[in-house]
């Protein structure tokens, strides 16, 4: 890294919180935390959480397995098995905490990094890899696990989530929706429009912003002059900033937010204050725009080590448990590796499938022409 780029990165990484905050709603940029980086359990009066040792162990297992899945996918990209991968490294707690806060009838609208939420919704991890391998653009049935397709255009899904939530209101059920997006997406018009619609129609939607500090190379300071969670107040609904590396806080706050929304009180914005430890995607090089010291400072807040510290400190898990998690992790890694490598390329006629729900003459003609053309080659008749 050159001296010049270091200076630039240092300047851009300056704190986002101005010290002359206005009085009123949430003037203190407080971070809801239930588990310190050292693994000490703390209470927050507004977000009580009771957990059994088994629940804590389950959360730990989720975090470890999600991280393993992500690491495996990153390796598979490096081996040429995936065209691209968007790693969630560092954001496991935000995703597992919020994902485990959902009820079965709730619905998640992810961006393209919510592998941990997909895990919590019981979506087969191999389904997530199809898009990154290039065999489909999604490929799972969103309604099977109430987990929508990944959305790549930043923030577009916030509106889909809001519309879905408006539909829940019309249906009169007590389901709720979570829309995931990042700090960069908070600048998008669609996210603002989603805030407006959700607020005006009292839609049961939780906007879950994972502020991982960087939108590719743009720091959060390029997206906002105020703490992101405070955007909500301008739209007339509550905003909460939670320690995004604290799985318990993410669970408690999201559960509260979902219940708030499903009870007819309208939307909530949850800002999970976290950090993307890796690159934006495997095509990115974060050493060009951010300081190693910054990344190291966040490593000390790691979501997995802090929960492990808690389990150790309280004597809630023994060696056999950690060994079993490790064994499951190995099993998952193997399944993902083998699954990706044996994932078949689709038949080229997939191009023409599902363009429309009803027949469309242009697609039908082009399909027939392609099949005839392909069949004209030796061996092509098997198509």
């Amino acid at each position: 890294m050159t001296v010049k780029s270091t200076a630039r990165a240092r300047k851009k990484a300056a704190p986002a919180v101005p010290d002359n905050l206005p009085a009123g709603s949430g003037a203190q940029p407080e971070l809801i935390q239930l588990l310190t980086p050292e693994g000490e359990r703390v209470e927050h009066p507004d977000y009580p959480l009771t957990t059994t040792p088994e629940e804590l162990r389950d959360l730990y297992r989720d975090l470890v397995l999600v991280r393993r899945f992500d690491a495996e996918a990153t390796s598979l990209q490096r081996q040429g098995e995936l065209g691209l991968w968007a790693s969630l490294l560092g954001q496991e707690a935000a995703q597992v905490g919020s994902g485990r806060a959902m009820r079965p009838g709730d619905y998640a609208f992810p961006t393209y990094r919510e592998h941990g939420v997909a895990w919590c919704r019981d979506v087969d991890p191999l389904n997530l890899l199809g898009m990154f391998r290039g065999v489909n653009h999604g490929g799972w049935d969103p309604n099977e696990k109430n987990f929508h397709l990944y959305t790549i255009v930043i923030g577009a899904q916030a509106l889909h989530a809001t519309g879905y939530a408006m539909g829940i209101t019309k249906d009169g059920t007590d389901d709720a929706v979570i829309a995931y997006f990042g700090d960069g997406a908070s600048s998008q018009g669609d996210v603002s429009e989603a805030f407006t619609f959700a607020s005006v129609y009292n839609a049961p939607v939780v906007f879950f912003c994972q502020n991982n500090q960087w939108a590719i190379s743009e720091p959060t300071t390029n997206q906002t002059k105020i703490p992101l969670y405070r955007r909500a107040s301008g739209f007339g609904f509550p905003g909460v900033r939670v320690d995004g590396n604290d799985v318990l806080a993410c669970l408690a706050v999201t559960r509260w937010a979902l219940d708030h929304a499903r009870s007819g009180n309208g939307p909530v914005l949850v800002e999970a204050f976290t950090y993307r430890m890796g690159a934006h995607t495997t095509s990115d090089d974060p050493t060009r725009y951010r300081l190693a010291e910054e990344t190291e400072a966040w490593r000390a807040k790691d979501p997995i080590s802090r929960l492990k510290a808690h389990l150790d400190r309280e004597g809630l898990a023994d060696e056999a448990f950690f060994a079993s998690v490790e064994a499951k992790s190995e099993e998952l890694g193997l399944r993902v590796r083998e699954g990706v490598r044996s994932m078949p390329d689709p038949d080229p006629t997939l191009i023409f499938d599902h363009v429309y729900a009803e027949p469309h003459t242009l697609v039908d003609e082009e399909r027939a022409e392609y099949i005839a053309y392909a069949a004209s080659f030796e061996g092509g008749e098997n198509l």
Binding site: N143, T162, D190, H354
Partner: protein, 324 residues
Amino acid sequence: MAGQLSIAKALNEALRKSLESDPKTLLMGEDIGKLGGVFRITDGLQKDFGESRVIDTPLAESGIVGTAIGLALRGYRPVVEIQFDGFVYPAFDQIVSQLAKMHARALGHVKLPVTVRIPYAGGIGAVEHHSESHEAYFAHTAGLRVVSPSNAHDAHWMLRQAIASDDPVIFLEPKRRYWDKGEVGDAADLPLHDARIARGGTDATLIAYGPMVKVCLDAAAAAQEDGRSLEVVDLRSLSPVDFAALEASVKRTGRAIVVHEAPVFLGMGAELAARLTERCFYHLEAPVLRVGGFHAPYPPSRVEEAFLPDLDRVLDAVDRSFAY
């Protein structure tokens, strides 16, 4: 319901029937409630069906289409109104990147039965962004169906067919024809995507849709006085195009002229001319000609008559075709 109705009233009745027949059908848009829409197409519907089915929205086009997508995912059948053609661009991503593609991305697991109604095209003396013809953008996008009626009967039945479709449909309403009256029959006489021969003829085929069908019919009537028999095909559907009907007509007449308001360059006419040339090459007496707007922003209304194809420009193209 049979009888003489304006296109506007025919559309209103279509929305009413659709709301009556399916409780999942919803209308969404700016000013569509108490006001009944700036063109009054939704007049009286909120009063009769309530605010939860005829929804006045915030002033945000991307929000209207984006939330309609979410409602469709929840099992609703939203019909959204974009107030004017030039205001659809803020919703462009939601239409072409989201609405058009979600069914395919989900490998058919979800359906997006969203109808996007857009009063489009010019000729009403409006200010800028109120007269544009953007059909090529949408027809170019796989996953969308694009249709445009030219008369009251089609306006009514094509809208009902569009709402009933499980695919997203861009429904382009020729706003300068809203007040034209015509007979609306008791049933749709054609599938949504069939072209219709609006006037039979033997010497050349005029191909048009939406607001230009009337211009072409007038041109055909004038040409008849000069002894030329022009066939007028009302395309009705821009995606898919009923090429079989076009091909049959052009093979009969040997000449084709495509007429639309949108700029000629890379417009619908380019596609139609190319395909007709491929399919009817040995039947053509002249190249397929195009009449349309210029490669310029839609002009100020005082000069829009020069931009819009009229009877004389169509007949001039007919003369050019016969000059080959």
